[in-house]
């Protein structure tokens, strides 16, 4: 994360940084929250609650893995939330109304995500429009487009008992009556592992970080900056597409017009997990952990009996806290 700085200050590397820096703090926060909620609410300790938290986390984690890449380039992707709903609506529509096999609907869902990601990337990298503006526009476009394509109606992907309902078992299988196994977490962890590798050990990853820390230097050293910039957004789109499948598998009806706000949970998770708000630094595992902080709060706060408004206030305070850690860390590094 702080590789560039630690080259000069290797000897001063603190115990905290050895343990993984902000990720370690976030992990402690997760453990702390889990213990706190478990003590405060006996129902929070139940196995089914864990399954629910995982169920409701998959789509945010997947979005967060993807959006980590544009964030590290110093940009952002605001289109992933409404995009997710749009891709899911289109895939589900083809399955329900045009007799597409479920796998084909899923493929269209993911490819649609990649397409929008490429459009975002091209507008940002080639046309040089600020990422905030580009993705805000595609956010609006996908929101409207999803409604238009399906005719404004909510779409239900096949339920578990219907033909084609097998895809729901990707994320959760029933091993006995009332016993669900949340296997989705395995796929999520595999994807986190792969994308961590991509970010840290491949050209795509190194150049993504390069664009975020010093775009001009990357360009001068002969990197095809535009190409790799587009790739970062394509990855974000790809994972928004995967998130769309996770969302469709967990929830029953996908409603047009929704999805705005999902992206903030994914981006918030990434920032909590140590992705620098100004680009150039971040990890995929950090984003994963950051999202779990948000998901724990979303489930835990209602379980301890906190009313709606307080839930929002506390989630906001936690986000400010995470950004403050980032700012303080940067200041200390600058000294």
């Amino acid at each position: 994360m702080a590789n560039q700085k630690t080259v000069t200050a290797a000897k001063e590397k603190s115990l905290l940084e050895k343990l993984g820096g902000q990720r370690f703090i976030v992990l402690l926060v997760i453990i702390g929250l889990a213990i706190f909620f478990s003590i405060m609410s006996p129902n929070f300790r139940k196995y089914t609650t864990l399954v629910s938290i995982l169920d409701y986390s998959y789509y945010i984690v997947l979005m967060s893995i993807g959006v980590t890449f544009p964030l590290i380039t110093g940009g952002v992707d605001l289109s992933i939330g409404t995009g997710l709903i749009c891709y899911s609506l289109v895939g589900g529509y083809l399955i329900s109304f045009h007799n597409f096999p479920v796998w084909a609907g899923m493929l269209v869902t993911v490819l649609f995500g990649v397409l929008i990601g490429c459009i975002n990337g091209t507008l940002v990298a080639v046309m040089d429009i600020p990422p905030f503006l580009v993705t805000l526009c595609t956010c609006m476009i996908t929101r409207g487009l999803g409604s238009i394509i399906v005719g404004g109606f909510g779409i239900t992907w096949p339920t578990a008992v219907q033909p084609g309902g097998w895809f729901r078992n990707i994320f959760k299988i029933s091993v006995a009556p009332r016993k669900m196994l949340p296997i989705g977490i395995i796929w999520v962890l595999i994807l986190v592992f792969i994308m961590s590798y991509v970010l840290n050990h491949t050209k795509v990853g190194r150049y993504t970080i390069g664009i975020g820390s010093n775009k001009e230097a990357a360009r001068l050293s002969g990197v095809n900056v535009k190409f790799y910039h587009v790739i970062a957004y394509a990855i974000s789109g790809l994972f928004a597409g995967l998130a769309a499948i996770a969302y469709s598998a967990v929830f029953s009806t996908v409603q047009p017009g929704t999805g705005a706000g999902f992206e903030l949970e994914a981006i918030g998770g990434a920032i909590i997990g140590g992705v620098s708000a100004s680009g150039g630094a971040g990890t995929v595992t950090g984003s994963l952990l950051g999202v779990f902080v948000i998901c724990l709060l979303k489930t835990g706060l209602p379980f301890i009996g906190l009313q709606a408004n307080w839930q929002q206030i506390i989630t906001g305070l936690v986000l400010i806290g995470a950004v403050l850690i980032d700012v303080i860390k940067k200041r200390r590094e600058a000294k």
């Binding site: 629910s52 239900t156 009556p177 409603q255 709606a308």
Partner: protein, 362 residues
């Protein structure tokens, strides 16, 4: 309240003196001009509103008038809707149809519409404090009555279990928010009716949870002394996911025997929560009974297979049609009154019947 009584009295007088004239008027509506109406729904979020828009679109074609439908992305986008309402007023249409997301936020705009001489017809949700003379007619499900209908049916099914219970029992209620007239009325209608029926049978009831509902129900009771606890949950945002989390929290409690979700999002949230908990069913002795509201493919399937005990449905299609009718009548210069529409209880037995099936949209 007095105004409502007056309206009822007036309505009764009109009905007594001119029996059948309402029916006649409904059949014989014609537009005496090239009218343009602006109609704003609560959101395009649920198929419910799409059914209303369908009604609006079919009736505007039948009458040959122009009706532009619009609506915010989510029912919680209150400011967006107020903006749309102000834009609609600036277009100076012959009338405005409005399903208000928030009863207080639209008050200034309603005054502006009145000052501009634009008649407003409210549908789905009423605005109790609307400036006098701004609203010409309210076309809405009697939401309070519809919530009470859910309570009557759920109580009837749970009555014996409550009577036999040795320890206090819990009834859950998930409302997606605490701001709109329709949701709050349904929630309060359920609470008040359930309390009334239980009290009549000698039970004591306490209402806990969300402050709005606890403070506005008829009798909140004392939790320590009650043998029936009605727990009301409202999520931080109107998403299925957060409704599901709130529902999980209630359904996890050992003493819960019934739960009510007061609209499509809340009812689907309950079903999503049940996906992991697997506690719902139609047998009060062994399972928790859930009552929903509205329809949609998911709720219909859950009721058909017995996961959900039953639900209350409205007729959004008819509401959309009536809104265009009433706007046209006002533009024609005809007198109009409030039109309450009914909520119907449906379950696995009657959902395919002629009276119910047309109201159950996907």
């Amino acid at each position: 309240m007095n105004k409502k009584l007056l309206a009822v009295a007036l309505g009764a007088t009109v009905a007594a003196t001119a029996l059948g004239s309402v029916a006649f008027a409904e059949e014989a509506i014609t537009a005496n001009g090239d009218y343009t109406f602006e109609i704003i729904v609560k959101s395009y979020q649920s198929s419910y509103w799409q059914a209303a828009v369908k009604g609006i679109d079919s009736e505007k074609e039948a009458l040959g008038v122009t009706a532009n439908s619009n609506g915010p992305n989510a029912e919680s986008d209150i400011a967006d809707q107020v903006q749309m309402l102000n834009d609609a007023i600036n277009k100076k249409p012959d009338g405005i149809g409005l399903a208000a997301c928030d009863q207080e936020a639209v008050l200034d705009a309603l005054q502006a519409a009145k000052d501009a001489g634009i008649p407003v017809v409210l549908f789905d949700s009423g605005v109790p404090n609307a400036p006098e003379g701004s609203v010409y007619s309210t076309i809405a499900t009697d939401n309070y009555g519809a919530g009470a209908t859910a309570a009557e049916n759920l109580y009837a099914a749970l009555k014996d279990k409550i009577a036999a219970a040795e320890a206090p029992v819990r009834i859950g209620e998930v409302n997606q928010e605490a701001t709109s007239e329709s949701i709050t009325s349904r929630g309060l209608g359920f609470i008040d009716k359930f309390t009334e029926l239980a009290t009549a049978d000698g039970h004591t009831v306490a209402v806990t949870g969300n402050e709005y509902y606890v403070n506005n129900c008829k009798e909140a009771g004392d939790e320590a002394a009650a043998n029936i606890i009605i727990e009301v949950a409202v999520p931080a945002q109107t998403t299925v996911e957060l409704c599901a989390t709130e529902a999980s929290n209630i359904l996890n409690k050992e003493d819960v025997i019934g739960i009510f979700g007061s609209n499509q999002v809340a009812a689907e949230g309950i079903l999503t929560a049940n996906g992991n908990l697997n506690v719902l069913g139609s047998d009060p002795e062994t399972t928790v009974l859930a009552a929903g509201f509205d329809a949609g493919a998911t709720i219909k399937a859950a009721i058909a297979d017995g996961t959900m005990y039953g639900a209350v449905t409205q007729s959004p299609l008819a509401m959309g049609i009536k809104t265009v009718d009433v706007l046209t009548q006002i533009a024609n210069g005809e007198e109009v009154t409030d039109l309450p529409t009914d909520g119907y209880w449906y379950n696995a037995e009657n959902m395919d019947s002629e009276e119910i099936a047309p109201n159950l949209y996907d």
